[in-house]
Protein backbone atom coordinates (compact mmCIF):
# COMPACT_ATOMS: atom_id res chain seq x y z
CA UNK A 1 0.00 0.00 0.00
CA UNK A 2 1.42 3.37 -1.00
CA UNK A 3 1.97 5.94 1.76
CA UNK A 4 0.43 8.59 -0.50
CA UNK A 5 -2.99 6.92 -0.36
CA UNK A 6 -3.35 8.33 3.15
CA UNK A 7 -7.16 8.39 3.16
CA UNK A 8 -7.11 4.65 3.73
CA UNK A 9 -6.13 3.85 7.31
CA UNK A 10 -6.80 0.12 7.18
CA UNK A 11 -6.36 -2.15 4.19
CA UNK A 12 -6.65 -5.91 4.42
CA UNK A 13 -5.88 -8.16 1.47
CA UNK A 14 -7.18 -11.71 1.50
CA UNK A 15 -6.71 -12.06 5.27
CA UNK A 16 -7.13 -15.58 6.58
CA UNK A 17 -6.90 -16.82 10.14
CA UNK A 18 -6.96 -20.49 11.02
CA UNK A 19 -7.07 -21.54 14.68
CA UNK A 20 -6.32 -24.96 15.99
CA UNK A 21 -9.02 -26.10 18.38
CA UNK A 22 -8.17 -29.47 19.92
CA UNK A 23 -6.09 -30.23 16.85
CA UNK A 24 -8.93 -29.37 14.47
CA UNK A 25 -8.36 -26.33 12.20
CA UNK A 26 -11.05 -23.66 12.48
CA UNK A 27 -11.28 -20.91 9.85
CA UNK A 28 -11.98 -17.75 11.83
CA UNK A 29 -11.32 -15.47 8.86
CA UNK A 30 -11.57 -16.61 5.28
CA UNK A 31 -10.09 -14.19 2.77
CA UNK A 32 -11.22 -10.80 4.10
CA UNK A 33 -10.55 -7.82 1.80
CA UNK A 34 -11.52 -4.51 3.36
CA UNK A 35 -10.53 -0.88 3.19
CA UNK A 36 -11.47 1.53 5.96
CA UNK A 37 -10.91 5.23 5.44
CA UNK A 38 -9.88 7.92 7.87
CA UNK A 39 -12.68 9.28 10.06
CA UNK A 40 -15.12 6.43 9.42
CA UNK A 41 -17.45 5.31 12.21
CA UNK A 42 -17.75 1.66 11.31
CA UNK A 43 -19.53 -1.24 12.95
CA UNK A 44 -18.55 -4.86 12.37
CA UNK A 45 -21.54 -7.03 12.96
CA UNK A 46 -22.35 -10.67 12.70
CA UNK A 47 -23.24 -13.64 14.85
CA UNK A 48 -20.90 -15.01 17.50
CA UNK A 49 -18.01 -16.84 15.85
CA UNK A 50 -18.32 -14.83 12.65
CA UNK A 51 -14.77 -13.46 13.09
CA UNK A 52 -15.40 -9.91 14.37
CA UNK A 53 -13.02 -10.01 17.33
CA UNK A 54 -10.43 -11.96 15.33
CA UNK A 55 -10.57 -9.31 12.63
CA UNK A 56 -10.07 -6.52 15.20
CA UNK A 57 -7.17 -8.42 16.78
CA UNK A 58 -5.49 -8.91 13.42
CA UNK A 59 -5.86 -5.34 12.15
CA UNK A 60 -4.43 -4.08 15.45
CA UNK A 61 -1.45 -6.44 15.45
CA UNK A 62 -2.61 -8.18 18.63
CA UNK A 63 -2.70 -11.38 16.60
CA UNK A 64 -1.15 -12.44 13.32
CA UNK A 65 -2.98 -13.62 10.21
CA UNK A 66 -2.34 -17.10 8.88
CA UNK A 67 -2.30 -15.62 5.41
CA UNK A 68 -2.90 -12.29 3.69
CA UNK A 69 -1.70 -8.76 4.28
CA UNK A 70 -2.70 -6.06 6.74
CA UNK A 71 -1.71 -2.43 6.24
CA UNK A 72 -2.43 0.05 9.02
CA UNK A 73 -1.68 3.73 8.52
CA UNK A 74 0.54 2.69 5.65
CA UNK A 75 2.52 0.09 7.61
CA UNK A 76 2.64 -3.55 6.62
CA UNK A 77 2.12 -5.12 10.06
CA UNK A 78 3.78 -8.47 9.33
CA UNK A 79 7.09 -6.68 8.81
CA UNK A 80 7.13 -5.25 12.34
CA UNK A 81 8.94 -6.90 15.23
CA UNK A 82 7.24 -7.44 18.60
CA UNK A 83 8.84 -4.26 19.98
CA UNK A 84 7.97 -2.24 16.84
CA UNK A 85 4.41 -3.52 17.02
CA UNK A 86 4.15 -2.37 20.66
CA UNK A 87 5.37 1.09 19.69
CA UNK A 88 3.09 1.15 16.68
CA UNK A 89 0.02 0.23 18.72
CA UNK A 90 0.94 2.78 21.37
CA UNK A 91 1.18 5.58 18.78
CA UNK A 92 -1.54 4.62 16.32
CA UNK A 93 -4.27 2.55 17.94
CA UNK A 94 -6.59 3.11 20.86
CA UNK A 95 -8.39 0.12 22.34
CA UNK A 96 -11.77 -0.06 24.07
CA UNK A 97 -12.52 -3.54 25.37
CA UNK A 98 -15.79 -5.13 26.36
CA UNK A 99 -14.37 -5.88 29.84
CA UNK A 100 -12.79 -2.39 30.09
CA UNK A 101 -9.37 -3.90 30.88
CA UNK A 102 -8.17 -1.01 32.98
CA UNK A 103 -5.05 -1.56 35.05
CA UNK A 104 -6.46 -2.28 38.50
CA UNK A 105 -3.49 -0.88 40.44
CA UNK A 106 -3.58 2.51 38.70
CA UNK A 107 -5.98 5.34 39.43
CA UNK A 108 -8.28 6.77 36.75
CA UNK A 109 -5.78 9.55 36.04
CA UNK A 110 -2.82 7.14 35.89
CA UNK A 111 -4.68 4.73 33.60
CA UNK A 112 -5.32 7.54 31.14
CA UNK A 113 -1.79 8.91 31.52
CA UNK A 114 -0.06 5.51 31.13
CA UNK A 115 0.16 5.39 27.32
CA UNK A 116 1.53 8.93 27.16
CA UNK A 117 4.16 7.94 29.71
CA UNK A 118 5.20 5.06 27.47
CA UNK A 119 5.39 7.50 24.56
CA UNK A 120 7.56 9.90 26.56
CA UNK A 121 5.11 12.84 26.50
CA UNK A 122 6.33 15.59 28.90
CA UNK A 123 4.60 15.77 32.28
CA UNK A 124 2.91 19.15 31.79
CA UNK A 125 1.51 18.04 28.43
CA UNK A 126 0.34 14.75 29.94
CA UNK A 127 -1.51 16.49 32.74
CA UNK A 128 -3.14 18.91 30.33
CA UNK A 129 -4.33 16.12 28.05
CA UNK A 130 -5.54 13.90 30.91
CA UNK A 131 -7.62 16.72 32.39
CA UNK A 132 -9.08 17.63 29.03
CA UNK A 133 -9.84 14.00 28.15
CA UNK A 134 -11.48 13.22 31.48
CA UNK A 135 -13.62 16.34 31.05
CA UNK A 136 -14.62 15.19 27.56
CA UNK A 137 -15.83 11.83 28.86
CA UNK A 138 -17.50 13.39 31.90
CA UNK A 139 -15.24 12.01 34.59
CA UNK A 140 -14.25 15.13 36.50
CA UNK A 141 -13.77 14.47 40.22
CA UNK A 142 -12.94 10.76 40.03
CA UNK A 143 -9.31 11.13 38.94
CA UNK A 144 -7.87 9.56 42.08
CA UNK A 145 -10.22 6.58 42.25
CA UNK A 146 -9.20 3.06 41.39
CA UNK A 147 -11.16 1.22 38.66
CA UNK A 148 -12.81 -1.01 41.27
CA UNK A 149 -14.34 2.11 42.84
CA UNK A 150 -16.16 3.00 39.61
CA UNK A 151 -19.35 1.75 37.95
CA UNK A 152 -19.16 -0.23 34.70
CA UNK A 153 -20.14 2.82 32.67
CA UNK A 154 -17.53 4.96 34.36
CA UNK A 155 -14.86 2.32 33.77
CA UNK A 156 -15.75 2.22 30.09
CA UNK A 157 -15.47 6.01 29.95
CA UNK A 158 -11.99 5.75 31.42
CA UNK A 159 -11.18 3.12 28.79
CA UNK A 160 -12.39 5.48 26.06
CA UNK A 161 -10.35 8.35 27.53
CA UNK A 162 -7.29 6.06 27.65
CA UNK A 163 -7.85 5.01 24.05
CA UNK A 164 -8.19 8.55 22.77
CA UNK A 165 -5.73 10.52 24.87
CA UNK A 166 -2.70 9.81 22.73
CA UNK A 167 -4.63 10.93 19.66
CA UNK A 168 -4.25 7.68 17.68
CA UNK A 169 -5.38 7.23 14.07
CA UNK A 170 -7.85 4.52 14.94
CA UNK A 171 -9.99 3.48 17.89
CA UNK A 172 -10.88 -0.20 17.96
CA UNK A 173 -13.78 -1.00 20.23
CA UNK A 174 -14.69 -4.62 20.91
CA UNK A 175 -18.31 -4.78 22.13
CA UNK A 176 -17.92 -1.52 24.09
CA UNK A 177 -21.54 -1.42 25.23
CA UNK A 178 -21.96 -5.09 26.03
CA UNK A 179 -21.28 -4.80 29.75
CA UNK A 180 -23.25 -1.65 30.52
CA UNK A 181 -26.96 -0.89 30.77
CA UNK A 182 -28.73 0.56 27.75
CA UNK A 183 -28.80 4.12 29.12
CA UNK A 184 -25.07 4.07 29.79
CA UNK A 185 -24.50 2.37 26.44
CA UNK A 186 -26.42 5.09 24.69
CA UNK A 187 -24.44 7.80 26.52
CA UNK A 188 -21.13 6.13 25.64
CA UNK A 189 -22.13 5.81 22.02
CA UNK A 190 -23.19 9.41 21.85
CA UNK A 191 -19.91 10.44 23.40
CA UNK A 192 -17.86 8.39 20.92
CA UNK A 193 -19.89 9.72 18.04
CA UNK A 194 -19.22 13.28 19.24
CA UNK A 195 -15.50 12.60 19.67
CA UNK A 196 -15.41 11.09 16.15
CA UNK A 197 -16.99 14.22 14.77
CA UNK A 198 -14.73 16.53 16.78
CA UNK A 199 -11.40 14.77 16.25
CA UNK A 200 -11.85 12.94 12.98
CA UNK A 201 -10.50 9.73 14.50
CA UNK A 202 -11.50 6.46 12.87
CA UNK A 203 -13.74 4.26 15.04
CA UNK A 204 -14.26 0.57 14.36
CA UNK A 205 -16.65 -1.37 16.57
CA UNK A 206 -17.40 -5.02 16.79
CA UNK A 207 -20.91 -5.24 18.16
CA UNK A 208 -24.23 -6.98 18.54
CA UNK A 209 -25.84 -3.84 19.87
CA UNK A 210 -28.58 -2.42 17.57
CA UNK A 211 -27.89 1.05 18.99
CA UNK A 212 -24.30 0.90 17.78
CA UNK A 213 -25.39 -0.45 14.41
CA UNK A 214 -27.82 2.45 14.09
CA UNK A 215 -25.20 5.07 14.94
CA UNK A 216 -22.54 3.61 12.63
CA UNK A 217 -21.90 5.30 9.28
CA UNK A 218 -20.81 2.02 7.77
CA UNK A 219 -22.01 -1.47 8.61
CA UNK A 220 -19.86 -4.45 7.71
CA UNK A 221 -21.44 -7.84 8.28
CA UNK A 222 -19.20 -10.83 8.73
CA UNK A 223 -20.37 -14.40 8.52
CA UNK A 224 -18.23 -17.51 8.71
CA UNK A 225 -15.12 -15.39 8.45
CA UNK A 226 -16.16 -13.65 5.26
CA UNK A 227 -17.56 -10.19 4.50
CA UNK A 228 -21.23 -10.80 3.77
CA UNK A 229 -22.38 -7.20 3.33
CA UNK A 230 -20.74 -3.79 3.46
CA UNK A 231 -23.22 -0.90 3.61
CA UNK A 232 -22.44 2.79 3.88
CA UNK A 233 -25.19 5.00 5.26
Amino acid sequence: MEQTQDKRVIVTEDVTKVYEADGIPVNALNGVDLTINKGEFTALVGPSGSGKSTFLNIISGLDTPTDGKVFLSGKFLSELSSKELSDFRRDNIGFVFQAYNLLPVLTVEENVEYIMLLAGVPKSERQKRVTSMLNSVGLEGVEDRLPTQLSGGQQQRVAIARAMVSEPDIILADEPTANVDSKTGSDLLEMMSRLNAETGMTFIFSTHDPMVMESAHRLITLRDGKVETDEKK
Binding site: S82, R89, R90, N101, L103
Partner: protein, 404 residues
Protein backbone atom coordinates in the same frame (compact mmCIF):
# COMPACT_ATOMS: atom_id res chain seq x y z
CA UNK B 1 5.47 4.02 36.03
CA UNK B 2 6.62 0.40 35.65
CA UNK B 3 8.16 0.62 39.13
CA UNK B 4 4.97 2.20 40.48
CA UNK B 5 2.91 -0.66 39.02
CA UNK B 6 5.39 -3.17 40.46
CA UNK B 7 5.09 -1.61 43.93
CA UNK B 8 1.31 -1.56 43.80
CA UNK B 9 1.13 -5.13 42.51
CA UNK B 10 3.12 -6.19 45.57
CA UNK B 11 0.61 -4.55 47.90
CA UNK B 12 -2.32 -5.78 45.85
CA UNK B 13 -1.40 -9.42 46.50
CA UNK B 14 -0.44 -8.86 50.13
CA UNK B 15 -0.75 -12.46 51.26
CA UNK B 16 1.27 -13.81 48.36
CA UNK B 17 3.90 -11.08 48.70
CA UNK B 18 4.21 -11.78 52.42
CA UNK B 19 4.58 -15.52 51.75
CA UNK B 20 7.24 -14.90 49.11
CA UNK B 21 9.05 -12.48 51.43
CA UNK B 22 8.79 -14.95 54.32
CA UNK B 23 10.43 -17.67 52.24
CA UNK B 24 13.26 -15.29 51.39
CA UNK B 25 13.58 -14.03 54.98
CA UNK B 26 13.73 -17.57 56.36
CA UNK B 27 16.29 -18.51 53.68
CA UNK B 28 18.38 -15.43 54.45
CA UNK B 29 18.21 -15.91 58.23
CA UNK B 30 19.04 -19.63 58.03
CA UNK B 31 21.89 -18.98 55.65
CA UNK B 32 23.18 -16.12 57.80
CA UNK B 33 22.89 -18.29 60.91
CA UNK B 34 24.77 -21.23 59.39
CA UNK B 35 27.54 -18.89 58.22
CA UNK B 36 27.65 -17.07 61.57
CA UNK B 37 27.76 -20.35 63.49
CA UNK B 38 30.41 -21.90 61.27
CA UNK B 39 32.49 -18.69 61.26
CA UNK B 40 32.19 -18.51 65.04
CA UNK B 41 33.05 -22.19 65.45
CA UNK B 42 35.98 -22.01 63.04
CA UNK B 43 37.31 -18.87 64.62
CA UNK B 44 36.96 -20.53 68.03
CA UNK B 45 38.70 -23.69 66.86
CA UNK B 46 41.44 -21.79 65.05
CA UNK B 47 41.93 -19.65 68.11
CA UNK B 48 42.15 -22.71 70.36
CA UNK B 49 44.46 -24.39 67.91
CA UNK B 50 46.71 -21.42 67.30
CA UNK B 51 46.49 -18.87 70.08
CA UNK B 52 46.38 -21.41 72.89
CA UNK B 53 48.88 -23.90 71.51
CA UNK B 54 50.75 -23.63 68.26
CA UNK B 55 50.73 -19.86 67.79
CA UNK B 56 49.67 -17.81 64.79
CA UNK B 57 53.19 -17.75 63.37
CA UNK B 58 56.18 -19.96 64.02
CA UNK B 59 59.83 -19.17 63.45
CA UNK B 60 62.30 -22.01 62.88
CA UNK B 61 65.76 -22.55 61.59
CA UNK B 62 65.56 -23.25 57.85
CA UNK B 63 64.40 -26.78 57.11
CA UNK B 64 63.21 -27.60 60.65
CA UNK B 65 59.54 -27.78 59.67
CA UNK B 66 60.25 -30.30 56.91
CA UNK B 67 62.64 -32.36 59.01
CA UNK B 68 62.52 -31.62 62.72
CA UNK B 69 65.71 -32.73 64.49
CA UNK B 70 67.20 -31.83 67.83
CA UNK B 71 70.27 -30.44 66.04
CA UNK B 72 68.54 -27.85 63.86
CA UNK B 73 68.22 -24.92 66.25
CA UNK B 74 67.97 -21.15 66.45
CA UNK B 75 70.95 -19.94 68.42
CA UNK B 76 70.40 -16.28 69.36
CA UNK B 77 66.70 -16.54 69.99
CA UNK B 78 66.58 -13.60 72.43
CA UNK B 79 67.69 -11.09 69.78
CA UNK B 80 65.31 -12.68 67.24
CA UNK B 81 62.56 -12.40 69.83
CA UNK B 82 63.30 -8.70 70.27
CA UNK B 83 63.02 -8.17 66.52
CA UNK B 84 59.72 -10.05 66.53
CA UNK B 85 58.40 -8.02 69.45
CA UNK B 86 59.26 -4.75 67.66
CA UNK B 87 56.59 -5.52 65.06
CA UNK B 88 53.45 -3.58 65.98
CA UNK B 89 51.13 -6.50 65.18
CA UNK B 90 52.89 -8.88 67.55
CA UNK B 91 51.27 -9.38 70.92
CA UNK B 92 53.64 -11.96 72.38
CA UNK B 93 56.34 -14.48 71.49
CA UNK B 94 57.70 -17.50 73.28
CA UNK B 95 60.65 -19.87 72.61
CA UNK B 96 60.39 -23.65 72.78
CA UNK B 97 62.76 -26.59 72.86
CA UNK B 98 61.54 -29.92 71.47
CA UNK B 99 62.98 -33.36 71.95
CA UNK B 100 61.80 -36.94 72.12
CA UNK B 101 62.80 -39.64 74.54
CA UNK B 102 61.75 -42.36 76.87
CA UNK B 103 59.82 -41.28 79.94
CA UNK B 104 59.39 -43.49 82.99
CA UNK B 105 57.19 -43.18 86.05
CA UNK B 106 57.62 -45.96 88.57
CA UNK B 107 57.59 -49.13 86.46
CA UNK B 108 55.91 -47.74 83.39
CA UNK B 109 57.84 -46.32 80.45
CA UNK B 110 56.87 -44.93 77.09
CA UNK B 111 57.99 -42.64 74.28
CA UNK B 112 57.24 -39.05 75.11
CA UNK B 113 57.72 -35.61 73.66
CA UNK B 114 59.54 -33.09 75.84
CA UNK B 115 58.73 -29.41 75.39
CA UNK B 116 60.93 -26.86 77.11
CA UNK B 117 59.12 -23.60 77.70
CA UNK B 118 59.90 -20.10 78.93
CA UNK B 119 57.23 -20.09 81.64
CA UNK B 120 56.64 -16.33 81.77
CA UNK B 121 56.50 -15.90 77.99
CA UNK B 122 54.45 -19.08 77.50
CA UNK B 123 51.87 -17.86 80.00
CA UNK B 124 51.65 -14.53 78.16
CA UNK B 125 51.48 -16.10 74.74
CA UNK B 126 49.38 -19.25 75.17
CA UNK B 127 47.93 -19.02 78.69
CA UNK B 128 49.88 -22.12 79.64
CA UNK B 129 49.15 -21.75 83.37
CA UNK B 130 45.38 -21.65 82.73
CA UNK B 131 45.48 -25.08 81.13
CA UNK B 132 46.89 -26.79 84.20
CA UNK B 133 44.01 -28.89 85.52
CA UNK B 134 45.67 -30.50 88.52
CA UNK B 135 48.53 -29.42 90.73
CA UNK B 136 50.35 -26.18 89.90
CA UNK B 137 52.13 -24.65 86.96
CA UNK B 138 55.91 -24.51 86.46
CA UNK B 139 57.82 -21.95 88.49
CA UNK B 140 59.53 -19.08 86.73
CA UNK B 141 63.00 -20.41 87.50
CA UNK B 142 64.20 -23.87 86.62
CA UNK B 143 63.46 -26.23 89.54
CA UNK B 144 63.59 -29.73 88.03
CA UNK B 145 59.82 -29.82 87.79
CA UNK B 146 57.57 -31.19 85.07
CA UNK B 147 53.99 -30.83 83.95
CA UNK B 148 52.54 -33.70 81.94
CA UNK B 149 49.50 -34.03 79.71
CA UNK B 150 46.45 -35.64 81.34
CA UNK B 151 46.49 -38.43 78.75
CA UNK B 152 50.14 -39.15 79.46
CA UNK B 153 49.47 -39.13 83.23
CA UNK B 154 46.82 -41.81 82.64
CA UNK B 155 49.06 -43.91 80.42
CA UNK B 156 51.93 -43.74 82.90
CA UNK B 157 49.59 -44.04 85.92
CA UNK B 158 51.38 -40.93 87.16
CA UNK B 159 50.08 -38.55 89.80
CA UNK B 160 51.23 -35.17 91.03
CA UNK B 161 54.29 -35.70 93.23
CA UNK B 162 55.64 -38.66 91.23
CA UNK B 163 59.05 -38.49 89.65
CA UNK B 164 59.45 -38.80 85.89
CA UNK B 165 62.78 -39.94 84.48
CA UNK B 166 63.99 -39.24 80.92
CA UNK B 167 66.37 -41.13 78.73
CA UNK B 168 67.32 -39.67 75.43
CA UNK B 169 70.17 -38.45 73.31
CA UNK B 170 71.43 -34.90 73.80
CA UNK B 171 72.41 -32.53 71.00
CA UNK B 172 76.11 -33.19 71.61
CA UNK B 173 75.63 -36.97 71.27
CA UNK B 174 75.81 -37.67 74.99
CA UNK B 175 73.15 -39.51 76.95
CA UNK B 176 70.43 -37.19 78.24
CA UNK B 177 69.19 -38.58 81.51
CA UNK B 178 67.55 -36.85 84.45
CA UNK B 179 64.60 -36.99 86.82
CA UNK B 180 61.90 -34.36 87.44
CA UNK B 181 59.04 -34.00 89.89
CA UNK B 182 55.59 -33.95 88.36
CA UNK B 183 53.91 -30.87 89.83
CA UNK B 184 50.81 -30.76 87.64
CA UNK B 185 48.81 -32.14 84.73
CA UNK B 186 47.65 -30.13 81.77
CA UNK B 187 44.76 -30.30 79.31
CA UNK B 188 45.71 -28.45 76.15
CA UNK B 189 42.50 -29.19 74.26
CA UNK B 190 44.29 -31.59 71.91
CA UNK B 191 44.07 -35.22 72.99
CA UNK B 192 47.01 -36.38 70.89
CA UNK B 193 49.29 -33.76 72.45
CA UNK B 194 48.08 -34.52 75.96
CA UNK B 195 48.78 -38.24 75.55
CA UNK B 196 52.46 -37.72 74.76
CA UNK B 197 53.75 -34.41 76.03
CA UNK B 198 55.75 -33.43 79.09
CA UNK B 199 56.66 -29.78 79.74
CA UNK B 200 59.86 -28.65 81.42
CA UNK B 201 61.30 -25.25 82.21
CA UNK B 202 63.32 -24.15 79.17
CA UNK B 203 66.54 -23.99 81.20
CA UNK B 204 65.99 -27.55 82.46
CA UNK B 205 65.30 -28.74 78.89
CA UNK B 206 68.38 -26.96 77.54
CA UNK B 207 70.50 -28.53 80.31
CA UNK B 208 69.05 -31.99 79.68
CA UNK B 209 69.61 -31.90 75.91
CA UNK B 210 72.76 -29.78 75.97
CA UNK B 211 71.15 -26.95 74.04
CA UNK B 212 72.35 -23.96 76.05
CA UNK B 213 71.13 -20.70 74.47
CA UNK B 214 69.40 -22.56 71.66
CA UNK B 215 65.78 -23.31 70.87
CA UNK B 216 63.91 -25.13 68.09
CA UNK B 217 60.95 -22.85 67.70
CA UNK B 218 59.67 -19.37 68.44
CA UNK B 219 55.91 -19.10 68.65
CA UNK B 220 54.42 -15.72 67.75
CA UNK B 221 50.98 -14.45 68.73
CA UNK B 222 49.53 -11.51 66.79
CA UNK B 223 46.92 -9.13 68.15
CA UNK B 224 44.66 -9.51 65.10
CA UNK B 225 44.42 -12.74 63.13
CA UNK B 226 43.74 -10.79 59.96
CA UNK B 227 47.26 -9.36 60.18
CA UNK B 228 49.02 -12.76 60.10
CA UNK B 229 50.04 -12.63 56.44
CA UNK B 230 51.27 -9.04 56.77
CA UNK B 231 53.27 -9.90 59.89
CA UNK B 232 54.81 -12.99 58.27
CA UNK B 233 55.94 -10.88 55.35
CA UNK B 234 57.38 -8.17 57.63
CA UNK B 235 59.26 -10.75 59.73
CA UNK B 236 60.60 -12.48 56.63
CA UNK B 237 62.01 -9.14 55.51
CA UNK B 238 63.56 -8.60 58.94
CA UNK B 239 65.29 -12.01 58.81
CA UNK B 240 66.20 -11.75 55.16
CA UNK B 241 69.87 -12.36 55.69
CA UNK B 242 69.48 -15.29 58.11
CA UNK B 243 68.70 -18.99 57.78
CA UNK B 244 65.30 -18.60 59.36
CA UNK B 245 61.84 -19.65 58.17
CA UNK B 246 58.74 -17.71 59.17
CA UNK B 247 55.51 -19.67 58.69
CA UNK B 248 51.84 -18.83 59.27
CA UNK B 249 49.60 -21.43 60.93
CA UNK B 250 48.15 -22.44 57.57
CA UNK B 251 51.59 -23.80 56.67
CA UNK B 252 52.75 -25.48 59.87
CA UNK B 253 49.24 -26.86 60.56
CA UNK B 254 48.51 -27.68 56.94
CA UNK B 255 46.37 -30.77 57.49
CA UNK B 256 44.25 -28.91 60.06
CA UNK B 257 43.87 -26.00 57.63
CA UNK B 258 42.83 -28.35 54.80
CA UNK B 259 40.32 -30.09 57.11
CA UNK B 260 38.79 -26.69 57.95
CA UNK B 261 38.56 -25.69 54.29
CA UNK B 262 36.93 -29.00 53.39
CA UNK B 263 34.44 -28.59 56.20
CA UNK B 264 33.61 -25.10 54.95
CA UNK B 265 32.84 -26.52 51.53
CA UNK B 266 30.34 -28.81 53.25
CA UNK B 267 28.73 -25.72 54.77
CA UNK B 268 28.48 -24.13 51.34
CA UNK B 269 26.58 -27.18 50.09
CA UNK B 270 24.08 -26.96 52.96
CA UNK B 271 23.60 -23.24 52.22
CA UNK B 272 23.02 -24.06 48.57
CA UNK B 273 20.34 -26.60 49.53
CA UNK B 274 18.59 -24.01 51.75
CA UNK B 275 18.60 -21.42 48.97
CA UNK B 276 17.52 -23.98 46.37
CA UNK B 277 14.42 -24.84 48.42
CA UNK B 278 13.68 -21.13 48.91
CA UNK B 279 14.17 -20.47 45.19
CA UNK B 280 11.72 -23.22 44.23
CA UNK B 281 9.13 -21.69 46.60
CA UNK B 282 9.66 -18.23 45.16
CA UNK B 283 9.53 -19.54 41.59
CA UNK B 284 6.21 -21.18 42.36
CA UNK B 285 4.62 -18.02 43.77
CA UNK B 286 5.98 -15.80 40.98
CA UNK B 287 4.78 -18.23 38.32
CA UNK B 288 1.33 -18.34 39.94
CA UNK B 289 1.26 -14.58 40.03
CA UNK B 290 2.20 -14.29 36.34
CA UNK B 291 -0.36 -16.91 35.42
CA UNK B 292 -3.10 -15.08 37.31
CA UNK B 293 -2.23 -11.81 35.63
CA UNK B 294 -1.86 -13.13 32.09
CA UNK B 295 -4.81 -11.04 30.97
CA UNK B 296 -3.31 -7.91 32.52
CA UNK B 297 0.00 -8.45 30.76
CA UNK B 298 -2.00 -8.87 27.55
CA UNK B 299 -3.66 -5.50 28.11
CA UNK B 300 -0.33 -3.87 28.96
CA UNK B 301 1.13 -5.19 25.74
CA UNK B 302 -1.96 -4.26 23.73
CA UNK B 303 -1.77 -0.61 24.77
CA UNK B 304 1.88 -0.37 23.77
CA UNK B 305 4.00 -1.62 26.66
CA UNK B 306 7.19 -3.11 25.25
CA UNK B 307 8.04 -6.77 26.02
CA UNK B 308 11.19 -5.53 27.80
CA UNK B 309 9.07 -3.32 30.06
CA UNK B 310 6.80 -6.26 30.99
CA UNK B 311 9.92 -8.33 31.65
CA UNK B 312 11.21 -5.48 33.83
CA UNK B 313 7.89 -5.29 35.67
CA UNK B 314 8.00 -8.95 36.77
CA UNK B 315 11.70 -8.81 37.71
CA UNK B 316 11.13 -5.51 39.59
CA UNK B 317 8.34 -7.00 41.69
CA UNK B 318 10.54 -9.91 42.77
CA UNK B 319 13.56 -7.65 43.28
CA UNK B 320 11.60 -5.26 45.52
CA UNK B 321 10.34 -8.17 47.65
CA UNK B 322 13.90 -9.58 47.76
CA UNK B 323 15.34 -6.21 48.85
CA UNK B 324 12.83 -5.88 51.68
CA UNK B 325 13.43 -9.53 52.65
CA UNK B 326 17.19 -8.99 52.70
CA UNK B 327 16.79 -6.00 55.04
CA UNK B 328 14.49 -7.91 57.41
CA UNK B 329 16.62 -11.07 57.11
CA UNK B 330 19.77 -9.08 57.89
CA UNK B 331 18.23 -7.77 61.11
CA UNK B 332 16.97 -11.22 62.16
CA UNK B 333 20.22 -12.94 61.13
CA UNK B 334 22.35 -10.40 63.02
CA UNK B 335 20.25 -10.71 66.17
CA UNK B 336 20.38 -14.53 66.04
CA UNK B 337 24.13 -14.56 65.38
CA UNK B 338 24.72 -12.04 68.17
CA UNK B 339 22.72 -14.13 70.65
CA UNK B 340 24.63 -17.26 69.65
CA UNK B 341 27.94 -15.39 69.88
CA UNK B 342 27.08 -14.57 73.51
CA UNK B 343 25.29 -17.70 74.69
CA UNK B 344 26.39 -20.32 72.15
CA UNK B 345 25.04 -23.85 71.83
CA UNK B 346 26.18 -26.13 74.64
CA UNK B 347 26.37 -29.82 73.84
CA UNK B 348 25.65 -32.42 76.53
CA UNK B 349 29.06 -33.97 75.83
CA UNK B 350 32.24 -32.57 74.36
CA UNK B 351 32.64 -32.67 70.61
CA UNK B 352 35.98 -33.01 68.84
CA UNK B 353 37.05 -31.20 65.71
CA UNK B 354 40.54 -31.65 64.29
CA UNK B 355 41.59 -33.04 67.65
CA UNK B 356 40.26 -29.92 69.40
CA UNK B 357 37.63 -30.54 72.06
CA UNK B 358 34.82 -28.16 72.75
CA UNK B 359 31.52 -28.24 74.56
CA UNK B 360 30.01 -24.93 73.53
CA UNK B 361 29.77 -23.77 69.94
CA UNK B 362 29.66 -19.99 69.59
CA UNK B 363 28.33 -18.07 66.59
CA UNK B 364 29.71 -14.81 65.25
CA UNK B 365 28.38 -11.71 63.54
CA UNK B 366 30.64 -11.52 60.50
CA UNK B 367 30.59 -9.60 57.24
CA UNK B 368 30.27 -12.92 55.41
CA UNK B 369 27.12 -13.78 57.40
CA UNK B 370 25.44 -10.73 55.83
CA UNK B 371 27.12 -10.41 52.44
CA UNK B 372 26.85 -14.05 51.29
CA UNK B 373 23.09 -14.43 52.08
CA UNK B 374 22.42 -11.00 50.51
CA UNK B 375 24.12 -11.99 47.27
CA UNK B 376 22.54 -15.46 47.33
CA UNK B 377 18.98 -14.26 48.02
CA UNK B 378 19.16 -11.41 45.48
CA UNK B 379 20.72 -13.58 42.78
CA UNK B 380 18.39 -16.54 43.30
CA UNK B 381 15.33 -14.23 43.41
CA UNK B 382 16.34 -12.51 40.18
CA UNK B 383 17.23 -15.83 38.58
CA UNK B 384 13.91 -17.48 39.41
CA UNK B 385 12.02 -14.40 38.21
CA UNK B 386 13.65 -14.63 34.78
CA UNK B 387 11.54 -17.53 33.53
CA UNK B 388 8.16 -16.04 34.56
CA UNK B 389 9.32 -12.64 33.29
CA UNK B 390 10.23 -14.05 29.87
CA UNK B 391 6.90 -15.88 29.84
CA UNK B 392 5.04 -12.64 30.59
CA UNK B 393 7.05 -10.64 28.03
CA UNK B 394 6.28 -13.16 25.28
CA UNK B 395 2.55 -13.17 25.87
CA UNK B 396 0.44 -12.79 22.72
CA UNK B 397 -2.04 -10.02 23.67
CA UNK B 398 -5.05 -11.42 21.80
CA UNK B 399 -4.58 -14.85 23.36
CA UNK B 400 -3.86 -13.42 26.84
CA UNK B 401 -6.96 -11.24 26.82
CA UNK B 402 -9.18 -14.20 26.04
CA UNK B 403 -8.21 -15.65 29.45
CA UNK B 404 -10.69 -14.92 32.22
Amino acid sequence: MILKIAFRNIFRQKRRSILTALAMIVGFSLSSFTIGLSDGAYSNIINMFTRNRLGHIQVHSTGYLDKPTIYNTISDYESIGETIQSNANVEAWTPRVYAGGLGSVNEKSMAIKVVGIDVVRENQATNFDKKVVEGKTLTETASHEAIIGIGLAKRLSATVGNKIAFFSQAADGSIANDEYTIIGTIESGDDATDRTTCYLHIDDAQDLFVLQGRVHEIVVIVSNMNSIAKTVSALENSFNDRDIDVSPWQVFAKSFYIAMQTDRKGDAISRFIIMFIVAIGVLNTVLMSVLERTREYGVLKAVGTKPSQIFGLVVSEVTIIALVSVCVGAIIGTVINYLFSVYGITYPTEITFGGMKMKTLYGAVTTASLVIPTITVMLSAILVSLFPAIKAARIIPAKAMRIH
